[in-house]
C-alpha cells in the first residue's frame, strides 16, 4: 500500500474531462490550493464541481472558472465572484444552488453508504420542486440523494503516509465529509508525517477513505474578509 504521491500533478493525473469533483473548503478557508493549481495547469474541462462556494475571481475555484473548465457548480453560495456571474448570465455555466446543510449531509450520506437522507431544509420553497416529501411526526421533510463524485479533493493540516488526516480549526468544514464521499479521495496536507506519528485519538479522517496523499507547498491561505478590532 503506497498512498503517497510526490505532488498535486501526480495526484490528479487521471482526472479527465467531464469528471465530477468534490472540493473541500468554506469560502477560501481549507481549500485544496495545490490541486486547484494543478487542475488549471492540466486544463481538464467540462467539470462538475461540488463545493460550498466557487472561490473569488482570482483564487480558489475562481481560477478554474477563469479558464472555463467548469460546466456545472453545485454550491450553497456563489457570491463574491464576478466571472462566475458573467458565465452564469451568459449561459456558459450551470449552477445548482442547494442549502448548505443539505450539501454537507448529502456528502455525509455518500461517505456513510446511505443512498439518501430526509431534511426539512427547503420545504415549502422552490428547493422542494419535484422532490419527494414525507411527513414524520407531523413535520414535512424532503428526500435528498447522496452525492456521487468521481474524485474528492480535500485539504488537511496534518496527514500521515497511511492517509489519516487531521484538520485545523474552521478549515475542517466540508473536508472530512468529502474525504469520505469520493470514489477516489485525494488529500493535500500542510505536514505529511510517517504513519504512527499522529495520535490515533486525534484522527478526524481515518486513512481508509484516503487513496492519495501528498505534502502540499506554498500555501497562500488568502483571507476573504479581514476583520480586526483595535487594541484599547
Amino acid at each position: 500500500m503506497n498512498k503517497v504521491v510526490s505532488n498535486a500533478d501526480e495526484a490528479i493525473r487521471d482526472i479527465a474531462d467531464g469528471a465530477v469533483l468534490m472540493l473541500g473548503g468554506f469560502g477560501l478557508c481549507g481549500i485544496p490550493e495545490n490541486c486547484i493549481t494543478a487542475l488549471v495547469k492540466k486544463g481538464v474541462k467540462q467539470l462538475t464541481c461540488i463545493s460550498n462556494n466557487a472561490g473569488v475571481d482570482d483564487f480558489g475555484i475562481g481560477l478554474m472558472l477563469q479558464h472555463k473548465q467548469v460546466k456545472k457548480m453545485i454550491s450553497s453560495y456563489v457570491g463574491e465572484n464576478a466571472e462566475f456571474e458573467r458565465q452564469l448570465l451568459g449561459g456558459e455555466l450551470e449552477v445548482e444552488l442547494i442549502p448548505q446543510g443539505t450539501l454537507a449531509t448529502r456528502c455525509m450520506a455518500a461517505g456513510y453508504g446511505m443512498p439518501a437522507i430526509y431534511t426539512p431544509a427547503g420545504v415549502g420553497t422552490e428547493v422542494a420542486a419535484g422532490k419527494e416529501t414525507r411527513n414524520f411526526n407531523g413535520k414535512d421533510y424532503l428526500l435528498e440523494y447522496a452525492f456521487d463524485a468521481d474524485f474528492a479533493i480535500v485539504k488537511a493540516w496534518k496527514g500521515d503516509t497511511d492517509g489519516n488526516l487531521i484538520y485545523k480549526e474552521t478549515a475542517r468544514n466540508f473536508n472530512p465529509l468529502m474525504a469520505m464521499a469520493g470514489k477516489i479521495t485525494i488529500a493535500e496536507v500542510e505536514e505529511l508525517v510517517p504513519a504512527g506519528k499522529l495520535d490515533p485519538n486525534l484522527i478526524h479522517t481515518p486513512g481508509i477513505y484516503v487513496h492519495r496523499i501528498f505534502q502540499g507547498m506554498n500555501y497562500e491561505k488568502r483571507i476573504e474578509q479581514r476583520t480586526i478590532r483595535k487594541k484599547v
Partner: protein, 219 residues
C-alpha cells in the same frame, strides 16, 4: 425616532438567556454579540463549524484557518469546539441551538420568511439560511420595517421566493417589536417616539394591537 441598527441589535440581545446556544446571521444579527447583557453567558455557533466564537482578532493576529460563516476572521473563546459542517447542521436540525437571529427581505404574518433571492437579480445562494429556518426552535428576525421606497416588508404573504414557511417567532424592526401569532403580527413594543398609528401604516400584514403598547427603553 426609528432605531439604529445598533439599537435593533441591542434590543434583540435582551432576548438572550443564560446558557443559550445562539446562531447569529450576517449583518445586524452579528452586532447582537456586542450587546450581550452582563451576567448572561451565551455560546455563539458559527455554522461553518464552531461553537464558542469570540470577537474579531487584534491586528496582526488574524488566522486564515479561523473564520465565521460570513468568512470574517474571528477568534475563539475558552471552551470552544470545532466540528465539520454536517455536524454543525446536525445540531441545528436536531434543535440544539436555542436561538437563531437573521435578517430578512420580507416576513409574512404567518411567519414565512424570504431572504435569499430577488428574481431578475444575480442569485448568490441561500447558504445555510434554509437549514436554519427549517429547524431552529426560536427565530428572531432583525429587519427594517419598510424598504427604501417606504413599502412595508411585513406582508400578508411574501412576494419574494421563500426561504422557509411558518418559522419566524419574533421580529425586531427599526420601529417595533412584534410576535408572530396565528392571528398575525402582534405588536409588543414600539421604538421611542414612534406611534402605534405609524406602525399600523407601515405594516401591510394583519396587525394586532391590544391595550397600551410600551416604548422600548435603552440605557
Amino acid at each position: 425616532m426609528s432605531l439604529t441598527k445598533e439599537q435593533i441589535a441591542q434590543r434583540i440581545a435582551g432576548e438572550l438567556k443564560d446558557g443559550y446556544y445562539v446562531n447569529l446571521g450576517i449583518g445586524i444579527p452579528t452586532l447582537v454579540a456586542n450587546y450581550i447583557p452582563a451576567g448572561i453567558n451565551v455560546v455563539l455557533q458559527s455554522e461553518n463549524g464552531l461553537l464558542g466564537m469570540g470577537p474579531f482578532p487584534f491586528e496582526g493576529e488574524e488566522d486564515p484557518d479561523l473564520i465565521n460563516a460570513g468568512k470574517q476572521t474571528i477568534t475563539t473563546v475558552p471552551g470552544s469546539a470545532f466540528f465539520d459542517s454536517a455536524m454543525s447542521f446536525g445540531m441545528i436540525r436536531a434543535g440544539k441551538v436555542d436561538l437563531t437571529v437573521l435578517g430578512a427581505m420580507e416576513v409574512s404574518d404567518q411567519g414565512d420568511i424570504a431572504n435569499w433571492k430577488i428574481p431578475g437579480k444575480m442569485v448568490k445562494g441561500m447558504g445555510g439560511a434554509m437549514d436554519l429556518v427549517a429547524s431552529a426552535k426560536n427565530i428572531i428576525v432583525a429587519m427594517m420595517h419598510t424598504n427604501p421606497k417606504g413599502e412595508s416588508k411585513l406582508l400578508p404573504e411574501c412576494l419574494l421566493p421563500l426561504t422557509g414557511v411558518k418559522c419566524v417567532k419574533k421580529i425586531v424592526s427599526d420601529i417595533a417589536v412584534l410576535e408572530i401569532t396565528p392571528q398575525g403580527f402582534k405588536l409588543l413594543e414600539r421604538a421611542p417616539g414612534v406611534s402605534v398609528e405609524e406602525i399600523k401604516a407601515k405594516t401591510a400584514g394583519r396587525l394586532i394591537v391590544e391595550g397600551g403598547i410600551p416604548e422600548m427603553k435603552f440605557d
